[in-house]
Amino acid sequence: MVVTEAETRAVAERAAARRPFWTIRRRDYLVGYLFITPQLAGSVVFVLLPLVLVGWYSMQEWNVLAGTFEFTGAENYAKLAADANLRSVLAATGIFSAGLVALNLTLALLLAILLNQRLRGTTLFRTLFFSPVLVSLVAWTIVWKFLLQAEGGINGVLGAAGIDGPNWLRGEATAMLSVIVVQVIKNVGLNMVLFLAALQGVPAQLYEAAKMDGAGAWTRFRRITVPLISPTILLTSIITVVGSLQVFAQIAVLTQGGPGTSTTVLIYYLYQQAFQFHHFGYGATISVLLFLIVAALTLLQWRLRRKWVFNEA
């Protein structure tokens, strides 16, 4: 008996029609997607969509008061490139981030090492250094604003020691230093706890073995501690760098970007342009720049980890 090609095709089609749509694989997909839907929906609505919209707004001239919304293409980007303030804003951002990251990480590591010792009262000190993390950011900053006034608490203490303190928030260099230090003291506890956890994960026998080989304290720190806690150093540095580019409330409360433009960092400049001067389109353009900077720095750190993070090579 000869089976024609047409018959074969008909049989195959019938078989295909009988095959259920909900195959095991498809059901698995569905269940998986259902599980991630709530999170995904949140991310799409509150992260992805605004991200795309910011890109769209950055190509508009949006006059809020008049209610006009005009597509201007790359005009805002050209304006950004020619913005006379951009250089000083980027410089302030760089100084602020570099100062903050260096001071925060060094201090956090130092405190973690000190508090990792078996000494009386370490729990108390750990709590003490961590507690600013839990304080409301604005309340914290307002209190510091009073302390940093010309006749505030800091200069009162300095005066008692016979030192004539500067007008902290009015001098260009001291204003930047003040903002950095206020932010470091606020958040150093968080990095300290992360470092502390990492330090406690370093096996004690490594130190003992190194000691028997005659390694001094510095060598043990450099050759054992640093490599073994390097994943935490990577984590804290990424968090701190990204966080430093998002510091807004402190600047808004302490200096409002002044004196001059000495503490006008990129995110504060963005706020001024969009919400104070009503240039919403241009503000969106600046936020695209901020996004690119954060993304580039994070990517760079992630790439460099192979070079210096233990176990990542």
């Binding site: 997909y29 969509l49 949006w62 209610g67 919304f69 010309a150 928030l169 001067f277 009503h278």
Partner: protein, 421 residues
């Protein structure tokens, strides 16, 4: 990766959908009783009680209004919050507007015209409505016109062996030179001299117009096109102020906050609406006009208007309520807190009824004469950006030994391109 592809397509579509209605979209008008919303910057209980009383009365005769809400927004972030609401497609129906934002709001066409609807519009004082007009049309009702005066702590002055400012006003010797010398004398004894409460952070520089007005100086020309920050009058006025702060110590320097109402300063340049805060002051005080400058007497006024947002779905109803809110009878009620813009109400007798803390003489000298000859604090389109740019450029002035002329030249170099545009 096809599901992801679909997802991206859905995301892209929703972006298009959202952006298509972004910007120009207005909330749909709903049938039935409507709710009106007015943004205000006061949170003071007596103010809000009065506003709610007026609203309740309006509702009696207007069943189509379900509720009139007064939304308090702090003054420091008021304009930012208001424009953000507008940008978010959720404008209030009515809004108080600070004098600084007036040119932007009036010029942009964000406000609905109101002149035809207002009760007895001819009664409004022309010098007071000027800021809120464009092409002969009125876009906001200047419900508060508050002159600046000088509050003085007579106890502190007496302790320092100084004259009574009221006597100096009478004898014509009430000048800035004299006021600063008296303040310096008080400061020497430990308390602070002269404070400008709205300028105590050395940022909100428009308040300095209360001083440079005496020198006939201004921030920019009347047409708003030329920077006059480096004019000889301004240089002289600012040199005087700089010397008062850093050499004579008559004015507390930057980074110091002094509370006049707590009795810590000899004098304060402030609006008469602040008199209320002196109700329970534990010291003797007086209110006198601003001192004379080299160019003679002058006055400075702060203003606030209330307008209807054109994009409100209830704009017509809101305009009707505004007309009621500001009619002759309600203006008289509002006058107890906010000096009215109506000729018929601006008499020492009317004002005295609602300002028990002030004497008729004070009201006549400071308020009525002040409103008559007053110059509004500097305003311009693009106000916020100008404010910020000038503040930044003025910062180098607020330290000892600053080169006043060079700093002021720097201010003009920065803002002239913005004014000329």
């Amino acid at each position: 990766m096809r599901p992801l592809g679909k997802l991206a397509a859905v995301a892209a579509l929703s972006v298009l959908a959202v952006s298509a209605c972004g910007g120009g979209g207005t909330p749909a008008q709903s049938a039935g009783p409507k709710t009106l919303r007015m943004t205000v910057w006061t949170a003071s209980e007596p103010h809000l009680t009065l506003l709610n009383e007026i609203a309740a009365e309006y509702k009696k005769t207007h069943p189509e209004v379900a509720e009139i809400k007064f939304e308090s927004i702090p003054a420091e972030t008021y304009t930012t919050t208001l424009t953000t609401q507008i940008a978010g497609g959720n404008p209030p129906d009515l809004a108080w507007i600070l004098e600084g934002s007036a040119p932007d709001f009036v010029a942009s066409g964000a406000l609905a015209p109101i002149k035809a609807k207002l009760d007895n519009a001819a009664d409004l004082i022309p010098s007071v409505t000027k800021l809120w007009e464009k092409d002969g049309e009125l876009y906001a009702y200047p419900f508060s016109t508050s002159p600046f005066g000088m509050f003085v702590n007579t106890d502190l002055l007496e302790d320092a062996g100084q004259d009574d400012p009221a006597d100096l006003v009478k004898s014509g010797e009430w000048t800035w030179e004299k006021a600063m010398a008296m303040s310096a004398a008080v400061a020497k004894k430990g308390k602070a001299g002269l404070v400008i409460p709205d300028f105590d952070d050395y940022k909100n520089w428009t308040n300095l117009s209360t001083i440079w007005g005496g020198w006939g100086a201004s921030a920019w020309s009347a047409d708003g096109k030329t920077c006059t920050f480096n004019s000889p009058e301004m240089v002289e006025a600012m040199t005087f102020f700089h010397k008062s702060v850093f050499t004579d110590k008559a004015v507390p320097g930057p980074g110091t906050t002094v509370d006049f109402t707590a009795g810590d300063a000899a004098m304060a340049v402030s609006q008469i609406s602040r008199a209320g805060t002196l109700k329970e002051a534990g010291f003797g005080w007086d209110l006198v006009p601003l001192p004379k400058g080299p160019k003679g007497e002058y006055a400075v006024i702060g203003q606030a208007g209330v307008g209807v947002l054109k994009r409100s779905p209830n704009a017509e109803l809101a305009t009707d309520f505004l007309a009621f809110f500001t009619n002759q009878a309600n203006s008289a009620k509002l006058a107890q807190f906010f000096p009215p813009p109506r000729q018929s109400l601006l008499t020492a007798e009317t004002l005295a009824k609602s300002n028990p803390l002030l004497k008729q003489e004070q009201l006549q000298q400071v308020v009525i004469e002040g409103i008559g000859k007053g110059v509004v604090k500097p305003t311009h389109t693009g106000q916020e950006e100008l404010l910020q740019t000038v503040r930044t450029a003025l910062d180098p002035l607020w330290k000892p030994g600053a080169d006043v002329k060079a700093v002021l030249d720097g201010v003009c170099a920065k803002i002239q391109p913005m004014l000329g545009a």
